[in-house]
Symmetry: C2
């Protein structure tokens, strides 16, 4: 039983197929042996709270929330910290971490730039 888990946190949308890229990331991580759930800010389920509840009920003690957002706006700067506070209040004894957003990592910026360059060939 893994006591550490990841929640990939995505925005959500009305069209089910919108979720495909995030499901692919989740599946790639699972095939590497990680305990990973996908959760959404709005319009899709599970919510962050629902995904956390499942992991905690399974005995997970450390949850890292990884925002799969290219950029940080009000959702990540204001809503996510409030939700993190609520998670910590509701699940004493479980450590909740949050990572910077995807687009804040220089390696991701390089990967995106290289991808755009490939489009131009």
């Amino acid at each position: 039983m893994l006591t550490s888990a990841i929640i990939l946190f995505a925005h959500g949308a009305r069209e089910p197929e919108w979720a495909r890229p995030f499901e692919r990331v989740r599946d790639a991580l699972r095939s590497d042996g990680a305990r990973v759930e996908l959760a959404y800010l709005e319009l899709m389920t599970p919510t962050l709270e629902e995904a956390a509840r499942v992991l905690v009920s399974e005995g997970v003690k450390t949850v890292t929330i990884v925002p799969l957002f290219l950029a940080s706006g009000k959702h990540l700067k204001h809503e996510l910290p409030e939700r993190m506070s609520a998670l910590r209040r509701n699940h004493a004894g479980v450590e909740f971490r949050v990572s910077p957003a995807l687009g804040e990592d220089p390696e991701i910026i390089s990967a995106i730039s290289a991808w755009v360059t490939r489009k131009m060939r």
Copy 2:
């Protein structure tokens, strides 16, 4: 004078700092010598139409619109095709292409998965 150009197309948000990751991608591509503009769907300027007008006025003949969206929802499936049609009507003699969204590329999915794995170490 380059006759081909790229428009990086991002969602937009209220906070100016939201745009930083996209500006970094634009700057990386410009430093490689590409003619690149950044345009937004909403909440930020320039719009796609404004960016296209500038490029066309400078003599650009082929414009590739690259959606910097992780996933494709209504914005890319419905709004963008309508805007592409309008661009083609308004700028006869200029070729407008559109690339698939960022999150549809398997290499981007791999780069994101690797980034998440690094967060867990």
